[in-house]
Symmetry: C2
Subunit: 331 residues, 2 copies
Amino acid sequence: MTDRMKATARACSNIAFIKYWGKADFDHNIPLNDSVSMTLSDAVTTTTVQWDPELKDDVIYLNSERILDARALRISRYLDRIRDQYYRMGARVASVNSFPAGTGIASSASGFAALATAAFAAFGEESPDETEMTRWARRGSGSACRSVQAGFVEWKGGTDDASSYSEQLCGPGHWDLRDLVVVLSRKPKTISSSEGHKIAVRHPFMAARQEELPARILSLKGALATRDVATFGEIVEHEAMEVQAIMMSGRPSALYLQPDTIRLIHHLRAWRDDEGVPVWFTLDAGPNLHVLCEGDVAFEVRERLTIVAPDAEILENRPGPAARIVDDHLL
Amino acid sequence: MTDRMKATARACSNIAFIKYWGKADFDHNIPLNDSVSMTLSDAVTTTTVQWDPELKDDVIYLNSERILDARALRISRYLDRIRDQYYRMGARVASVNSFPAGTGIASSASGFAALATAAFAAFGEESPDETEMTRWARRGSGSACRSVQAGFVEWKGGTDDASSYSEQLCGPGHWDLRDLVVVLSRKPKTISSSEGHKIAVRHPFMAARQEELPARILSLKGALATRDVATFGEIVEHEAMEVQAIMMSGRPSALYLQPDTIRLIHHLRAWRDDEGVPVWFTLDAGPNLHVLCEGDVAFEVRERLTIVAPDAEILENRPGPAARIVDDHLL
């Protein structure tokens, strides 16, 4: 039986165009607002879960190393929620990321999407449907909600566990948008996302942001539907600056921007404003720049980035696939 | 008579701890909010005004060069307001700054405070009183309102021309606070302050900022009264980040921060948080950092700044004197 109780899943991280920043409910990861993202083709987590009735404690490997710290505890607590609804037994979990740690790519997004997908499949019974699977991913890490589906995804923030789930807006084939992640720093953040969410909730600007967002999201979806990259880019870049603005003007101040981040932003804007290169950016809770452009200029943009940031690794992503079961087990 | 109709004034620029960003009335430079500043001892403008009944058009020299551009027009329009109330005659104006152009130190603040002071004195009659002189300076350039008085100054924003004036909070001797201006860039701004004020007024975060400010100003004045540098610094730094946040998340986005600005901010915060160095900063609509500390650590802070920014000029200021008449004419 043990061998049948094993499954491996692969899921992509995602980059948010409209950000998840501020939680309405910390127990269920209910966000203050809806968010919109692209699933990232080349930022992949592969996770094998093997349930074992004879195993008392979970055994967890991350990037081939057994972990016993807070990350392991978080995964076990998460598996408890699944066990509560199915069978109580220990699990062996092994997970690897295709992208280096500390790149500012949300490994918790791809990680919990893959973990949820693998954990249910490993029971060998029918898994929750896709929408319910987005809820399961969200219960592990908010932004994982958007990593279950392919292409372009909207997380309906909702008001409680049932109403907070993701929907696919359009598949990966709809638009050849690229996200060139420029890895400028691998230092850990001084203020964690979790702490950031708390600071955000009490930020005096948050109410005004929430009022603006519904119209902004509607405009973004319109630009996505028509592949209007200029409108899309302008909204996304403004959104990124707004969220960084809230981060850095909070109490305490979280200044994720680094000198190279600012330097590249000025370069990008000069390329766009002075030379007409159709390129925009977004940022997450970290210093690394997500450079956005359409496929037909991606090569040129990459060349330009290589010239101004020769030491930075660049991870190029297209709209990625959904979380899925694969055959190549890690255990 | 002509020789009697000449006067020279000297006035200092100022650095705002609570910022003037957003105008309620563009004709009279009425700000959205009260602001608080320190007059800067070493950022001085000296201006000579010579009224001449035989002169048809104004002749204006800036840093020893005759100017005929928009700056000259602005000065002539300003002199028109004074002439409208006194005598209609041309003026020779010569003005020099002690600090280099483009350092991000507001030369319009010291400039219009000196110009107003000299222009009235040159008539050889009784000048407006000090409060009225702050109004006159403000009519030339909003922040000049705070450059008429010595030490620490509050600009009561008011709602119209009469109610918008400055008051001294305390003299230069009250507190040996230093402002070390680290000149990181001399490039002209891509978005002018005037344009910035317009973007600020329609920024969705501005209402929340205005609601926060009265309590913030009260706390700042309390910290100033007790020379509580830690409380003072925390408020001032938060205020600076908030205004930068509004600038960069506006439409269009005004990103005055440069890579070196961010680099020094991270250094400063590390010195403070990791080594206990009592140092804070503020910023204006530009990339140059105003590093704030008390006199007893100014030497150490200056040494540290020199190590991390060896190429940057540092202009050290103490609380400065009021605008005043001097004898050394430029004409």
